[in-house]
């Protein structure tokens, strides 16, 4: 690029910055949109079961039954409610007042004290299969804790021949928010990046300024660069704000280095902006461009990036399709950098994939955007 072209590019960049300053809609897309989405999803989406309302039915009160039920009251996972009959409890579950029922039948105490096998009934609302499995697991944990405590109190050893000691790595608090928020940032940044370039170019088409630009001696490469550079800066600003929200508001740990995070974000932002440029060469009004951006970037990122739905448990065909979703690679990097640290065996291949994606989308944008009106 010669000196004249560079000066022309500066002219374009100056104009773009003035426009961003005078019409803050781009600032809103870069900063307000990610913040709002992150707050909504961050607070709204949680896979943890806490304070789950649960029905306790004790048909024949006894000291033993009381010690068992008090274990539920102590658990952070449950908010127990007492019911006298199993019918009442079932009614409450149908009305969605409780998520599950723990039922101590009338012969519970007698059979337990006789040293025999004393069954308790557990009924779980299976409408949300994920919740149901989590509740089931928690009930078993409470049950096991109670048995252990009882055995220790009796001075004997635990009646269970073996005990499971779950150990969770990379997210010791097993807080699904810590796990979700990094992935969420990837999904939101896909939308932000694509919208930034798609909307501002569509706006130039809508207002006829693109036509005016095209008759000047500015080249298409200069026009594309003049869009890419300022919105890259804005997008990275939005990314930084999102990371700040994740760390300082949601308390997500940031185990890896900030530089790795910045470099990976840069690659991903180029990909997302490139997608926006490609969209803008197809859609020449802001409404259509926005629709296409949501359908082609946000939805696939949400469903196929593995940020909440595990890719390995998807059907084979869908797994293959996820490879063209750029957010997939960024989700893997972000989850690693936030929760596990600089795991190069995860970061390097995914960063390479992002670099390839960025090159493909930017190259495609350059190839299909012509200085023509048809």
């Amino acid at each position: 690029m010669n000196a004249g072209a560079l000066r022309r590019l500066f002219g374009l960049l100056r104009k773009e910055s003035l426009q961003i300053w005078r019409d803050p809609s781009a600032l809103a897309i870069a900063f307000v949109l990610p913040a709002v989405l992150l707050l909504i999803f961050g607070y709204g989406v949680s896979l943890d079961a806490r304070n789950v309302p649960i029905a306790l039915v004790v048909q024949q009160p006894s000291a033993l039954a009381a010690s068992f039920t008090s274990q539920f009251a102590r658990s952070p996972f449950f908010r127990p409610r007492r019911f006298l009959t199993i019918q009442d409890a079932e009614q409450a579950m149908t009305a969605q007042q409780v998520q599950g029922i723990v039922w101590l039948p009338s012969d519970f105490t007698r059979r337990a004290e006789a040293g025999g096998n004393s069954p308790i009934g557990v009924i779980v609302n299976g409408v949300d299969a994920n919740d149901a499995r989590i509740i089931e697991g928690y009930v078993q944990q409470v049950w096991a804790a109670w048995l252990t405590a009882r055995a220790q109190a009796a001075g004997g050893r635990a009646p269970l021949p073996l005990s499971v000691q779950p150990q969770v790595r990379f997210n010791p608090a097993v807080d699904s928010r810590d796990y979700l928020v990094p992935g969420l940032i990837a999904v939101i940044m896909t939308l932000t990046g694509a919208l930034l370039t798609a909307l501002v170019i569509a706006r130039e088409w809508e207002r006829g300024t693109m036509e005016a630009l095209m008759v000047t001696r500015v080249t298409m490469r200069e026009i594309l660069l003049a869009k890419l550079i300022p919105y890259f800066v804005l997008g990275m600003g939005g990314m930084a704000a999102s990371v700040a929200i994740a760390v300082f508001l949601f308390g997500v740990p940031l185990e890896g280095s900030v530089w790795v995070l910045t470099a990976a974000s840069g690659l991903f932002m180029l990909t997302a902006l490139g997608m926006g440029l490609v969209i803008s060469s197809v859609a020449r009004n802001q409404f259509v461009a926005g629709q296409i951006a949501i359908i082609t970037t946000f939805l696939p990122a949400f469903l196929l990036s593995g940020f909440v739905f595990d890719i390995n448990s998807m059907p084979r065909v869908v797994q293959i399709i996820t490879h063209i979703v750029a957010a997939r690679y960024f989700v893997a990097i972000l989850q690693s950098v936030f929760l596990a640290g600089n795991v190069w065996s995860v970061i390097l291949p995914n960063a390479l994939a992002l670099a390839v994606m960025a090159a493909i989308f930017l190259g495609l944008a350059r190839a299909i955007t012509h200085k023509r009106l048809d």
């Binding site: 004249g4 000066r7 022309r8 500066f10 002219g11 374009l12 100056r14 104009k15 003035l18 426009q19 005078r22 019409d23 207002r207 006829g208 300024t209 036509e211 005016a212 630009l213 095209m214 008759v215 000047t216 001696r217 500015v218 080249t219 200085k371 023509r372 009106l373 048809d374």
Partner: protein
């Protein structure tokens, strides 16, 4: 003719089955004001966009300022100025920012750029409005600003697409005074319009309908062509209607 700045031969543009411009041929000499007269949808803007290299022709040849636009659109662009039908400057930038931006887009730099911006502010009396946001300007000022932006690089050829639509008669006369002055300096001006009285400002013009040229020549000659016993002194509007009706008559008879 050797002095022709623009030569168009058998120019055709189709959009699918629709023929927007149908076998149009004309030439324009240096310093001439050449008009394309026709109703909306007659193919004027499509012809213009092809002349400016914004739209490739389906068939036919185009030479602008000596350049074949199929191959050397970029070189031709340095010689042409274009004022679109719709206000197409940056509405959220100020008058001075628009002038500065378009001058840089036309590759002006340094002292020359400053001189041209100053020239535009004086010549078009935009100085007092230099910090006003372009979107909020009165229509007459917007049009002057658009013309100034198209003239920043002192083009040899100026394309004006419906330049005076929506502008009051006084501003329109003022506008044509400027165009005449430019033509006298040797700038070739192509203008599309659907205002019949504006056709009188042109040295020569073509009447277009449904993509085709129906009549061509000096305004006086076109008017004379429409002279009948009942209309001894036809206006341009009378002539225009006569030309359109004559073109439709054979179709109706068939």
């Amino acid at each position: 003719m050797a002095g022709d700045v623009i030569a168009v031969a058998h120019l055709t543009r189709r959009f699918g089955a629709f023929v927007a411009v149908d076998d149009v041929s004309f030439t324009v000499a240096r310093g001439e004001i050449f008009g394309l007269l026709g109703a909306n949808g007659a193919g004027k803007s499509t012809t213009f966009r092809m002349l400016c290299g914004l739209l490739p022709p389906t068939s036919g040849t185009l030479r602008v300022a000596g350049f074949d636009l199929r191959g050397a659109a970029a070189s031709a662009r340095g010689r042409i100025g274009y004022m679109a039908q719709k206000f197409s400057l940056y509405g959220d930038l100020s008058v001075a920012q628009n002038l500065r931006f378009f001058s840089s887009a036309y590759r002006l730099t340094g002292a020359r750029q400053r001189a041209r911006v100053a020239w535009a502010e004086t010549e078009f009396e935009l100085g007092p409005m230099r910090d006003a946001t372009a979107r909020d300007l009165p229509l007459g000022f917007k049009q002057r600003l658009a013309l100034a932006c198209a003239l920043m690089h002192e083009p040899d050829i100026l394309f004006l697409d419906e330049p005076t639509s929506g502008v009051d008669p006084l501003a329109r006369r003022e506008f044509w005074r400027r165009i005449n002055a430019l033509a006298e300096q040797g700038v070739t001006v192509l203008v599309t319009t659907h205002f019949m009285e504006e056709a009188e400002y042109c040295d020569r013009l073509v009447i277009m309908a449904q993509g085709a040229v129906l009549a061509a020549g000096e305004p006086e000659a076109i008017k004379q062509g429409a002279r009948t016993a009942t209309q001894p002194d036809p206006t341009m509007e009378d002539a225009f209607i006569a030309v359109i009706e004559a073109a439709q008559a054979p179709a109706q008879a068939a």
